[in-house]
Assembly symmetry: D3
């Protein structure tokens, strides 16, 4: 019985995230998508909006759940009896940062293992921030994010 | 007949940029240096100052023109009938970011091709932000930027 | 009038190479695919076989030609009045090697410019050697190489 | 019920490999260490020697088994009903190669997932080939490989 | 007689920094730890607090001294008759940035040499910002920073 | 009193190596250029030829000496009372390999420190193997290697 956290700021969730969630859901008994506040950047969507969007676009996966957490991730893993943290890798720059985080998390709690899945090549250029930038400039984001997220992004930038 | 955009924030233009412009101008019929506002960082020079400096230091190239644009770059390429976006590569970290941008731009418009030129090795450590940092600390920037840009940088930091 | 060399060992040509050739053929007036002997590895296909395969799979591009060369590439560019060498980039490790080659070529001949095109993301994991390895182990290579190359690979490994 | 392959040439197995095996064995129901012949390099230890050494040094893990395979890895995963291929990552250069392999394997068989575990930082400089080089030069390899492997390496190079 | 600067923002000093300082102190006659203000990020500790902490945790090294500087580093090297700037390398991303800085510094003053020491593998995931993040979330930072820094970090975040 | 080894295969020595030797010779009391046999590649020049060439082109540096060694480098450092191993870094791929070697060497002997110097940007594309390849194809190698090495390379390839 493997329970996994899939942490991120998901501002907003992209098709790259969903690809990882889908594959994690076939490997693990339960995947808990864990939305982190992201203190360093001011988010476009509120925590509540992000959770709601993820719930909507992952409702087809019965073993995927969504929550938020603002403390130390390995403590949350402990509380939740999650043995695994899932991360998606796209590029070398991801790799170095994630390596550093994985080693720190192992130092903080040796019972929690970080495992990495490779993003599908067609999503390798996708990031939440790039999608936001394209949406802000009114470019077409179809195929980059799920339908409901596309609508939310368009609405968001109309109000700006 | 190849028309190319060479986009960047050029805050300010360095000898590395001019190296790329010169080589692009021998390959393409027309090169349109496209100054982007750069929302994420507060610029040292205004858009107008940047355009003027680039016009001054590229006036020897008859097929190089300067403009500004604040929307989606591939749309501007379309409006201008430019088939090509030129980017200069210096280092691995450039490469990953530019790869991501090139793939996104191809997704947004398959008619616009991004081509990459390598920066001359002697300019590989040059960046606008590093030049600004050296100028701010009153280090010698001769040889890193053209004469008029050197003067403008010195004046800028005297007034600060 | 831009004439470009597209050098490589093409042992064999893959869909990744064809993607680069197609895009180069829309940017340049003439693209000369230049098959290099590749001294360091013993090739699977002879130079003649490689040239023939490339001719077959690029015959739809009227401005693409195929040849072989075994000397210094920049000298061949000079002989051919080619101003440009085209290279495809897939990954960081490509980048460093190609950067080194481009700087050396510029040192040897400043009139020849190396330009880089990004491989489509769906081809980013494709390489001739990986395709050969999969074919050797009788894995399916459909979609990785053009039909005639697929057949040639299968035949080659049946005879081994 | 997750069954995983952990493929490699293991010539010989190091403490870095054992670190990955141990962690994989707590995440998966069964881990099948799969020794590949490694055609491109001439191995120091025969396939049989390598299998025997791995069996000896992993006997404390009841759900870890050892085998050899010389065909297409994803076919072997299918035969074995293994859903997962485990790989250890140490450095950026590993990452690019493994990324390429993982994407190719997914193309060949979408039912097999490659997951990556990070090597412990204290093992990040360990590789079978570096260990062999040190042993060949009669340097101390204690702490880099398990005791039986250390003995086998010393014996091997005495006979050379 | 080699005198070295070891520059950084040290906000706060970690065991990784101390590892570098210790090794530099055995190679050089004098090591001057040079605390830079770090304009781009708002620091957690004041310059004075940082200097005091470093003095406390390096007092066992008789040839290590601490100071602050806010101008051009190579000018400070000149003033201090330091021939060498010491930097620690952990990862590829460090490498590229430090390479750029080293080349710029050589351009500004060819008499000052930058030398690089590798961080011990067990510290490769350590950075001041990651340590601060863990401390802020009340994770255990024992073993990552010296005792006095651990206390200072805990106190700092209690007052927040 | 710092004594340094500068190891390499130097097949042949390039201007990039000489740049590192010159700078090492101003930092260290003695630099011992240590020519390694390089088992994995068949060398172009014999050990004796390589030593002689290095002696010729470094004779202006009174504190630089040349020798050969075929055992474990850290043992040689001990025998020679050398506290330091000098390595030149050019690119990310160098960095990862050298990092691995430096950590292994520290494991084998904690008294020997590896220090890294950055290659001048104008030499960043220079490698012995690339120079040999250009010389073999009769390209101009002036400015890449010292005069005597240029002559030796030309003679070598005339006889082939």
């Amino acid at each position: 019985m493997i329970k996994a956290l899939y942490p991120g700021s998901f501002d907003p969730i992209t098709n790259g995230h969903i690809d990882i969630i889908q594959r994690a859901s076939t490997l693990c008994n339960e995947v808990l998508v864990t939305v982190l506040p992201n203190l360093s950047k001011s988010p476009l969507f509120s925590l509540e909006e992000r959770v709601k969007m993820i719930e909507t676009v992952t409702e087809e996966f019965p073993n995927v759940f969504v929550t938020t957490y603002s403390g130390l991730l390995v403590n949350f893993a402990n509380e939740q009896n999650a043995q695994v943290i899932i991360k998606g890798l796209r590029a070398v720059s991801d790799f170095e940062y994630e390596f550093q985080m994985a080693l720190m998390n192992r130092k903080l709690n040796t019972n929690v293992e970080t495992i990495f899945l490779m993003t599908q090549s067609k999503n390798s250029f996708l990031s939440s921030s790039l999608v936001k930038e394209v949406a802000r400039l009114e470019g077409c984001i179809k195929g980059l994010v799920p339908g409901p997220v596309e609508e939310a992004l368009i609405k968001k930038f109309q109000h700006k």
